[in-house]
Amino acid sequence: MTAPFPTRKQEEWRYADLDALKPVWEQFAEPLTLTIGAGDSFEDVWVPTGDDVQVKRMSIALGAGAKARLFVLNTASVYGRIELQVSLEADANFELFAANIGDGQSTNEIVTNVRHIGERGRSRQVVRSVLGGKAVGSYLGKVEVARGAQQTDGEQSVKAMLLNRGATANCKPELEIFADDVKCAHGASVGELDETQMFYAQSRGLDPASARALLLEGFVMGLWDNVADEAQREAICAAARGALRRVA
């Protein structure tokens, strides 16, 4: 039996494109599960497939001292959803570097639930969105710190760039903390391209579209600096560059 189809009343599906999801729900109803054993490391790079609707739902359990690092580019032309449930035992480390890039009528969202169960866990989520047309880009990120998960260090850095009045960025970092000795930082901002930077680039010979693309590249590309595998880094950079040229 598959899980029931979600409704917008559920917080984590609030901004979803359920019409686009409906026909493909069967294959995504059950999130993939991944267990990283104590002390092990996992790194992955998610590059878009090019399908109109792209959904990735994954639940990751990090054992004591385990590490997971994900680099994600979310840029579906209709609906893209990256959903992560992460639990961290003592000393585990989770890092997410993700971008939503959208234009037209697309909806791209990143929904995370990071649960610190053990002590001294560290999670870091960096999300950048670039949205043109009437695109919607969302980040819903919940960080839970369980009772006893002392010295947790959780960080969320979320920034969105809107290229068009019709575009929308939703950003909802959420903290639920049941321990007293924790550090949880979150910052969120929504902005537009800086006019002075635009003029500087144009005065050097870049036409407006190229100048925009270059500035946006600067905004997004830092996310992939630490991809260990060179070929994978190239792949995600190339895909992001392509998406930015489309949007800019």
Binding site: E195, T196, Q197, F199, Y200, A201, Q202, S203, R204, G205, L206, D207, P208, S210, A211, L214, L215, E217, G218, F219, V220, M221, G222
Partner: protein, 247 residues
């Protein structure tokens, strides 16, 4: 080469330039001096097409072309370069990528072949070295974390790479130490002193003009050129101040 006639311009509906006429023939360097707020930077921005700087009257032609009809990037491709009074930082974009894309975009629109990665690095290394700058600085994001003086030196490296026909240099000397001033002065002469090139040198001080001798000096005050003269005018201004000299 650059012909400005009766140029009026407003910023945020406020008249700033109030009828500037100025002609810089090929092969000449003209200095523009004038008190703070007199409109020097505004003139530079208007000539390079900054949005928000509106020309309300007059004309500017560059090699016979109507400069004011061109977009900023088309002016760059036509050979115009603005050295910024406050060079702009662009996080996340390396100077090398920024300059390579800019230069190749200019070359494309002029119908010239683009430079390959290797050719560009060679050029960048050469120009950085000539200005006494380590090419590694250009691997960093554009102007990010540069000191005031480093930014000005970097502007001159950019100018060397672009090799423009005409440069408007807005207080490139401000913020430079003595050695940097000498390097920048030599750079301006090397890059821009040629029979087919021209320079508009905006400055407050004689010291840069000791290295780059101007053919003419103009004094801008409240949006108008109130005096013009030879290199000796700059000395006079330095001695007597604007109030006396421009009276």
């Amino acid at each position: 080469m650059l012909d400005i006639r009766n140029l009026h311009a407003t910023v945020a509906d406020k008249p700033i330039l109030k009828g500037i006429s100025l002609s810089v023939p090929a092969g000449e360097v003209h200095a523009i001096m004038g008190p703070n707020g007199s409109g020097k930077s505004t003139l530079g921005y208007v000539l390079s097409g900054r949005p928000g700087y509106e020309v309300t009257e007059g004309s500017a032609t560059f090699d016979g072309k109507d400069l004011l009809a061109l977009e900023p990037h088309e002016r760059a491709a036509a050979g115009l370069f603005l050295g910024f009074q406050y060079p702009v930082e662009i996080p996340g974009v390396s100077s090398l990528q920024f300059l390579r894309e800019s230069l190749n975009s200019q070359r494309r629109s002029r119908g010239e072949p683009e430079l390959s990665g290797g050719e560009f690095i060679k050029l960048a290394r050469e120009q950085a070295a000539l200005l006494g700058m380590d090419v590694d600085m250009l691997k960093r994001p554009v102007n990010v974390g540069f000191s005031g003086g480093e930014k000005k030196r970097a502007e001159m490296v950019q100018m060397g790479i672009m090799n423009p026909k005409f440069a408007i240099l807005d207080e490139t000397d401000s913020g430079l130490d003595i050695d940097a001033l000498r390097a920048v002065g030599a750079g301006i002469n090397r890059i821009m002193r040629a029979p087919d090139k021209g320079v508009l040198l905006i400055t407050h001080y004689q010291r840069l003009l000791d290295y780059v001798t101007p053919d003419k000096v103009h004094v801008l005050n409240a949006g108008r050129i109130v005096r013009s003269g030879g290199p000796e005018l700059a000395h006079e201004l330095e001695r007597e101040g604007y109030a006396e000299a421009a009276a």
